[in-house]
Amino acid sequence: MAALDAVVAASPARAAQPAGIALPSGLLCLVAVLCFLVPLVGSLPSPTGGDVLAAGLPPFSNGHILGTDLNGNDVLSRLAYGGRSSLVIALLANLAGLVVGATLGAISAQAGGAVDAVSMRILDAFIAFPSLVLVLVIAQALDASVPGTIVALSCFTIPAFARVARAATLRLREQAFMLAAGLSDAPAWRILAFHVGPNIVPQLTSFLFLGVGISIIVEGALSYLGLGVPPPAPSWGNMIFHGQQAMHSQPSLILLPSLCIFVTVLACNLLADALRRRWTAQ
């Protein structure tokens, strides 16, 4: 999770802008179309149960535009279905983080005092674990499965969102409207929902994309190790792992899923960065 903070913390006064909002959003849409629409409209072969006789076909073969893997499965189809599970897992884990973690963080900051001190120590403890190690240990105990991976990833997205929401809420404290809300005798839930909530949404949104990027990396690592999406179902991580067996003869089996992970994560990072710059400027 560590990587998240520094990206947020690094707020270059004069940014050398790697990209605006359009480029990364476009890339993400492209990935989403590949993963969610292509399997629906096209006549993609099944991602599993391929014909061993058609194994290891190079890209641009007849009927398999990106070739087949060592089990004879269509690579394009595996990339699409693999990406689908990566994106769904990352999105759900981060939505859990957003809903549960951000709420807890904002409540803790508003409550202050002992509640805040205790919850901060608990958060620090969770954040002390290397994210991959925490997720790995929990994922293996839950057995390799899609829901298990989501639960495991939530164990680091929830504390991370809590921390971001807490910091953002604390920053609001000095604002005049928060003082006014406090003096107006409004109930605590009302202040949280109508005064704090809308004002920390921009930070949480930019963090959401960062979190999705990191979650895709961690999910890929789990699947690479065989602890994430259960084989034979495809995932970008286990495609890289299996591709290593044919490193000499068919490097495309490694390069294509690597490219998918890289482009998706890069787009998430760029988008998070662009969004953060936008709200800092305002």
Partner: protein, 316 residues
């Protein structure tokens, strides 16, 4: 000293919570150790006997007490899989992980500092933009994405570096370093992106919002000298904190990089133990990694105070 004492007071509860999470997360989750060890064909009776032999049938909080008591005096029990002492298992592997992570950290810092300096020399210029793209790219490359590519290029195509395996540094210094170049690079590149972005931002902040940089300029000090002698030392404080905070990313990354390159380090031991469900070893490694992160942050805070008089005297 009072500063140090206050830090220790805030660190102790975190370490306690870390130990609770480590023990109970691994303990309470489904998947029975004895079942796993006894094998698929074991009868219920055999499993029960194994459970008693391993003392897994006692209440978890009793075992937590014994475990944490042992951990404090440096005894982490024995491996359930092969009855070897956990401490000796870890001690065998630790040098490999330490060599890998310190090599990676050194690479990342050695590249990040000059990259950040050349990009703030002319903010928004061509160099700055190139470095921004490079560091964003690095940040988005996971170790397991980069590692196969490095193997493909440097071991398979060019054949100039070994693809996998580890040569102990004490046996053969040159061979050992060669065996660590690719793994350390795979581990360093994402951190390099992170450090460069952070340091660039922090240096710019020194230049933009601190009078001492303006004063240096007014005294006719050249831009490089002002950057190196005035801005950089201040920014390195921030970078130090960042390195401490991100030790987890380094250690977590090491787990998967060790697996890819077949390096016999802590990460590989963790994955082997995970597959065997050897919970005493898993608990010990997870505790070790988390404690290392917490203590690294404490060290950074203390160093920070020792080096920066404003914090030492509570004026910042």
């Amino acid at each position: 000293m009072r500063f140090a004492a206050r830090l220790c007071l805030s660190v102790a509860p975190v370490l306690f919570a870390v130990s609770l999470i480590t023990f109970f997360a691994i303990e309470v989750l489904p998947g029975n150790t004895a079942e796993q060890l006894a094998g698929v064909n074991a009868t219920a009776e055999q499993i029960e006997r194994l459970e008693q032999a391993l003392q897994l049938d006692r209440p978890p909080w009793v075992r937590y007490g014994e475990w944490i008591g042992g951990a404090i005096v440096g005894d982490l029990g024995v491996s359930l899989a092969n009855r070897q002492s956990v401490v000796s298992l870890i001690a065998e592997r630790l040098p490999v992980t330490l060599a890998l992570t310190s090599f990676a950290l050194a690479l990342a810092l050695a590249a990040a500092v000059p990259l950040a300096l050349i990009s703030v020399y002319r903010p928004g210029g061509a160099v700055d933009r190139t470095v921004a793209i490079l560091s964003m790219t690095g940040l988005s490359l996971a170790g397991y994405v980069l590692a196969p590519l490095l193997i493909l290029v440097f071991a398979v195509q060019l054949g100039i570096l070994p693809s996998i395996g580890y040569v102990p540094l004490s046996d053969d210094l040159i061979g050992g370093i060669r065996s660590l170049i690719l793994p350390a690079t795979a581990l360093a590149v994402p951190l390099l992106g992170l450090y460069t972005r952070f340091l660039r931002g922090d240096l710019l902040e020194q230049i933009d919002s601190h009078d001492y940089m303006l004063a240096a300029k007014a005294r006719g000090i050249g831009p490089w000298r002002a950057l190196l002698r005035h801005a950089l030392p201040n920014s390195l404080f921030g970078l130090m904190t960042l390195v401490g905070l991100h030790l987890g990313a380094l250690l977590g990354g090491a787990v998967i990089v060790e697996q890819i390159f077949a390096l016999p380090g802590i990460g590989q031991l963790l994955l082997q133990s995970v597959n065997l469900r050897d919970i005493t070893v898993i608990q010990a490694i997870v505790l070790l990694l988390a404690t290392a992160t917490v203590l690294a942050n404490l060290t950074v805070d203390v160093l920070y105070a020792a080096l920066d008089p404003r914090i030492r005297h509570g004026r910042a």
